[in-house]
Amino acid sequence: MTSIVATNQTILVVGGGISGMTAALEAAETGKQVVLVEKNPYLGGRTVQLYRYFPKMCHPTCGLEINLRRLKANPRIQVLTLAEVTGITGSKGAYSVSVKLKPRYVNTNCTACGECGKAVQTEIADAFNYNLGKIKAAYLPSSMAYPQRYVIDPSIIGTPDAERAKAACKYDAVNLDDQEEVISLNAGAIVWATGWQPYDASKIVYYGYDRFANVISNVEFERLADPHGPTGGRILRPSDGKEAKNIAFIQCAGSRDENHLRHCSRFCCMGSLKQTHYVQEKYGDAGKSTIYYIDIRAIDRFEDFYQKVKANPNVSFVKSKVARITEDKDGNPVCNGVDTEGYVRYANAHDLVVLALGMEPSVKGVEIPAEVMSDSSGFIMADPANAGIFGAGCATNALDVNRAVQSATAAALRAIQVVNKVARAEA
């Protein structure tokens, strides 16, 4: 049975992405007790699945390394992975929270030596790489994974493979009898930082995401460009493994659309501008990018970044929402539409089409097991009555990483305000 020390002066942070980690760390480094709950078997969330950040083109794992070091050095944070909050009762200053813990089948004895991974034969879809590749059913999600412990996929429990994993472990770290459990803990304040998910591309049927292999999403493209992704960083198109050198980026795939997401997701313009750098990086002048857009939303100093990309002769911009993607005889996706600046109709064949999918909250306001206010897109809104549950990061708005971290830092203070009040009362 997992035991957690938590009181009404404890801050519960739900979601271990960069927003959740930030909120937890800022609070803990201010001397507060924190419980950090993450549904994945590792911390870091979506940012660690990105190859680079705009506008610096630096690597998300760099920031993650620092945050993990802060975390390892801080005894005030208790981390629960494979955990989901299933219920919240009570009120500001005195919440009681139930958390469902899924079995990992690997205990803290694990040294990440990798023997179980070698022993297991079954391969499963690699979720970390958006299922673009396969991994063993006993795996470490990524080299940066924290906790640095293997995970055994439930699918092999009860099979000889599971026994192989157990037999391979010299440290008695594999526990096949691991059971799902629900624990309950106290918290004075809660920071809800469950982040975002890309809009379901298959719903934009005229782009054929689920019909055409060479129509992929912006998040998948990040994995293709990443040297530690399924293609070793080579931009190969799924249909035939051919190098994709002529790439189309379709903006507002789902966003700014009352049939899909009514809001603007803010990050996707910069995301695609960034991804044109990947094409340039891999193929130089042989790489061509075309961005189909309605408005390029490169806000504040990001404008510099936009201007630089615009100056690149290998990147072209078409002010047009692509109307339909078809496939030509060679399996090239063809973008059909009308360039609204002067009304030129086009049918452009590309090697690969990347949909700049919009952002929607992973857990919509109504699905949160507590009273929170949320907007029409399901993002958490600040409660004027100021209860003890605060949104952070992309659970509150479509934000880029930088703004998500600001939001999370603010959320940490709001939570601290509550527990400090509790402390003063209990003192």
Binding site: V205, Y206, R211, T326, E327
Partner: protein
């Protein structure tokens, strides 16, 4: 007593001797098998169809449909109106929505109806034959009466526009609706994959600007052939006519050798239910569906 009863709105094209008369024939046979009672709305009138947009004003168009509502409501109380023609269904449904959403429009409509001695209390539901089949009966029910599955026959399910947009069939996507393929499979046929399932046949432009429309029709038929289809199936009279009757002209214009039968789902079902070529109105097909005629003969 039939298990289902509806107020039938066949529409101008589905009348005897009209361009979709074979649709009517096959629908009647199909409904007979399925024990669906369709009572024609007495003295129903034309829906106006989309094409009348330029001449007909807003109100006159709605009034035409309103008259049918009133007639259905008074003569066949409590029954949904069922149309077999896409345009009729669309026109009537549009009018229903607009009238129900604008009290002003409704008031004017009533005033006009009074001139014909009619009035509307509640506008009945306006449904497409396909909705009745799928929602009120369901694929399983439709499968039961199948006596002669259309084994090994390849069809391109051509949904077209107006049975699909803007209303469409509940739960289906505008860009890739599956119900027609499911109907084909329900009667034992094979639904081929092709990318022109919802492409427009040119609609009324087939009359006014044939050269423009026929280009689109050509694309549709080509795709169907590429997909390996032997026949095309559709739920829409205008689609049926456009795709079928211009094949000769298209062959002239583009040097193609099109000769592909274009059928209604109701014709397939009638045959699968053991109906004769006549029951299925196969004689009404300009491009003869010989394979089906033989099949029906066996």
């Amino acid at each position: 007593m039939a298990r289902k009863e509806y107020a039938f709105y066949p529409g101008c094209s589905s009348q005897k001797g009209a361009s979709a008369s074979n649709y009517l024939v096959s629908v009647e046979s199909m409904c007979k098998t399925l024990d669906i009672k369709m009572t024609e709305i007495p003295d129903w009138n034309c829906c106006g169809a989309s094409i009348s947009y330029a001449e007909a004003g807003e109100l006159p168009r709605h009034v035409m449909n309103a008259r049918n509502f009133a007639l259905a409501e008074t003569n066949l109380p409590g029954q949904d109106i069922v149309a077999t023609c896409a345009a009729c269904w669309l026109g009537a449904r549009e009018s229903k929505e607009r009238l129900e959403h604008s009290s002003g429009l409704m008031a004017d409509t009533q005033t006009a109806l009074k001139e014909a001695g009619l009035a509307i209390k509640v506008i009945p539901e306006v449904r497409h034959m396909v909705e009745v089949l799928i929602e009120d009966l369901g694929y399983d029910e439709l499968k039961k009466p199948v006596k002669k599955p259309l084994q090994g026959m390849k069809f391109a399910g051509y949904v077209g526009c107006q049975t699909n947009r803007p209303f469409g069939i509940a739960g289906e996507s505008f860009e890739n609706p599956m119900y027609l393929d499911k109907l084909i499979e329900t009667v034992g046929g094979e639904a081929v994959k092709y990318d022109q399932k919802v492409t427009c046949c040119g609609g009324a432009l087939a009359f006014s600007e044939p050269e423009k429309a026929q280009g689109q029709i050509k694309d549709i038929i080509e795709a169907a052939y590429d997909g390996g289809a032997e026949m095309i199936v559709t739920p829409c009279p205008l689609c049926q006519a456009n795709v079928e009757v211009y094949q000769g002209q298209i062959n002239k214009r583009y040097g193609t050798k099109f000769d592909i039968p274009v059928l209604y789902y109701s014709q397939l079902m009638t045959l699968a239910y053991g109906g004769s070529a006549k029951d299925a109105g196969l004689n009404g097909n300009v491009v003869r569906a010989r394979k089906l005629e033989e099949f029906a003969g066996k």
